[in-house]
């Protein structure tokens, strides 16, 4: 093979990698809402203990106040905010959380059901 041809091949691969990089950039920007949540956010949980409308992502900046109301269709055992390790009993609706976003990262909010199963109901994204 000519060295010229090879250079072209290599260049092509590099360009392909660069394009892949750009696509990644584009998708990571469009893929999720960067919009920061304000005020009280409500998450509804159906009678079988699943979030209505799927697991919602709530985005905050570090230092913001996270105010979360979990409205339950039926009594559950508890609602648990991972990482921050807040756990509140969930016999009565709504379960109310209000705390400052002092840790950055991705944190799952989970419902612990009466049958001892668990499932995510929201995800908190706290930007640094």
């Amino acid at each position: 093979m000519q060295s010229r041809t090879m250079r072209i091949v290599v260049l092509a691969v590099v360009i392909a990698a660069a394009i892949a990089a750009l696509i990644a950039l584009a998708s990571s920007n469009s893929g999720k809402s960067e919009e920061v949540s304000h005020g009280v956010q409500t998450v509804r949980v159906d009678p079988s203990g699943n979030p209505v409308g799927g697991v919602k992502t709530l985005t905050y900046n570090r230092g913001d106040r996270i105010e979360l109301h979990v409205v339950l269709a039926a009594p559950e055992q508890a609602v648990h905010v991972h990482g921050y390790e807040y756990e509140k009993p969930a016999e009565h609706s709504p379960v109310v959380f209000s705390f400052p976003a002092r840790l950055d990262g991705v944190f799952e909010v989970e419902v612990h059901r009466l049958d001892k199963s668990e499932g995510p109901i929201a995800e908190l994204h706290v930007n640094p």
Partner: protein
């Protein structure tokens, strides 16, 4: 892997009618760790990728023209140090520690609480052991050999045999050279399968881990009996082979009864000559990628496969297993395919050895990249889980409420590192791994080809492969990943 409480989500999901809800949700699958990493921001990803490209081309132009790392200039350190490290007392002590921890894994697995986050077996096996031994291996050499419980038990048994029979235990078979590291490749894939897939959408239970440990131990003891203790430990035993691979990067190695040093990285080229070396290092990159992609980049396709599998009438957890196994294998095949393409390209250069030999002789150049992937993906989770290991797991290994050392009340401080630090460590690890990989590849090319010109030309291909690996690693980090 992230661990959380035993999840019965899959069972509960049975009651839900909508197919979409049946899939053991990403978050519920194994939310092991309370805090997940935010994706690396777009600007950092772009900078990381650009730096990788620029460094790669710069390296090609200023590269050295004589191979420097091919000769392992191993030199013994002072005898006193060797005696201090390798005396029978130290060896026995290390073996005892290894066996003690091994017994504790089995005991806590069978007798402890089924909650993975509060059971010694899970935290120890998947974090402290599997991730924690990698850096010590690079820095201090093949440390796992000293603590390897299977080796320790094997040595005691063969020592006992010698005492009773007056001769060494016979080894019925010579370890076939062609087998090389292949048994370890299968061992590592199965280990990852246990960690990420076997639970069928939930974290593996301590009981399952204990059963797997028993099965693996039986296989190891049988093979040690067939091929000899040291023979099997050095090549066939999956974890020794795996940690030993990373140990080849570092400067310290024990030979016979002496501890010695060599130039950094110069131990790696010899390692590549063993059959299965390329497979082992590609497996490491592949399984780390899969763990990152399972709940991120691959999640949509895995979910699609899961739905097809459950349409065929498989149970939910079996569908999860089938779908994830397929995508794990696709990931591994993709890694192998990429490497093979690079080798094919290199083969087109005049004076190349046969493809097969070429593929093996460049295997070690990927070890730094495998290491970088591990650091990038597990750095933060490791920091969190080790806090658990040395607080409540230490005092209450079974999860039964004991408080042996007064640390049972401790917990994980998730604020220990900020997201910015995590991002910089991740990107820096990948960039440094990339540079070390290119260094090893360039050096090996100089030793493989007749002229510097041909060697450089062959490296266009290796460079393209490594740019792909590194950028893929960066890409995984820039996406939601676990």
């Amino acid at each position: 892997m992230r661990v959380s409480r035993p999840k019965l989500a899959a069972a509960a999901a049975l009651a839900t009618p909508a197919a979409g809800l049946l899939f053991p949700d990403a978050a519920s699958a194994h939310a092991l760790v309370g805090r997940k990493d935010l994706p690396v921001p777009a600007w950092l990803f772009a900078w990381g990728a650009s730096v990788v490209l620029v460094i790669s081309f710069a390296l090609l132009t200023v590269a050295w023209t004589k191979a420097r790392l091919q000769d392992e200039d191993w030199r013994p350190l002072p005898r006193g140090l060797s005696i201090a490290v390798l005396n029978p007392v130290t060896q026995t002590l290390c073996g005892l520690i290894g066996v003690g921890l091994f017994v504790l894994v089995l005991y806590s697995g069978f007798r402890g609480i089924e909650d993975p986050t509060h059971n010694f077996s899970i935290i120890f096996v998947f974090y402290t052991f599997w991730l924690g031994l990698i850096l010590p291996s690079v820095l201090l050499g093949d440390v796992f050999r000293a603590f390897n419980p299977w080796r320790a038990i094997g040595r005691v048994i063969s020592g006992g045999f010698r005492l009773v029979a007056g001769q060494s235990a016979p080894t019925p078979f010579d370890y076939p050279d062609r087998l090389g590291l292949w048994p370890a490749v299968f061992g590592i894939v199965l280990f990852i399968w246990l960690e990420l897939i076997a639970g069928g959408g939930i974290a593996p239970t301590p009981h399952k881990v204990a059963v797997a440990t028993v099965i693996y131990s039986v296989i190891t003891f049988v093979c040690m009996g067939l091929f000899g203790v040291e023979e099997w430990i050095s090549r066939g035993e999956a974890f020794n082979a795996y940690f030993g691979m990373f140990a080849r990067l570092g400067p310290l190695e024990t030979r016979g009864d002496r501890v010695g040093t060599r130039r950094f990285l110069s131990g790696a080229p010899q390692w590549a000559a063993v059959p299965g070396s390329a497979a082992l290092v590609l497996t490491s990159i592949g399984v780390t990628s899969f763990d990152g992609a399972q709940e991120g980049v691959w999640s949509g396709t895995i979910r699609w496969t899961f739905e097809r599998a459950s349409d065929l009438g498989l149970s939910l957890s079996d569908s999860f297993r089938v779908a994830n196994t397929i995508w794990l294998l696709i990931t591994l095949a993709g890694m192998a395919g990429l490497y093979w393409l690079g080798i094919k390209g290199m083969h087109s250069v005049r004076g190349s050895p046969p493809t097969f030999r070429l593929g093996r002789s460049f295997a070690h150049t990927l070890i730094p990249i495998a290491l970088a992937y591990l650091v990038a993906h597990y750095f933060s989770a490791f920091l969190y889980q080790e806090q658990a290991q040395f607080t409540y797991i230490l005092s209450d290994p079974l999860g039964h409420g004991s408080n042996l050392f007064g640390t049972a009340g401790g917990g994980i401080n998730y604020g220990i590192v900020g997201s910015n630090t995590v991002w910089y460590v991740q990107v820096a690890a990948l960039v440094i791994g990339h540079v070390l990989g290119l260094t090893l590849a360039h050096d090996r090319a100089l030793a493989t080809y007749d002229s510097v010109r041909l060697a450089s030309r062959s490296q266009y291909f290796m460079l393209a492969v490594m740019v792909c690996f590194t950028c893929f690693g960066l890409f995984l980090l820039s996406q939601a990943n676990a």
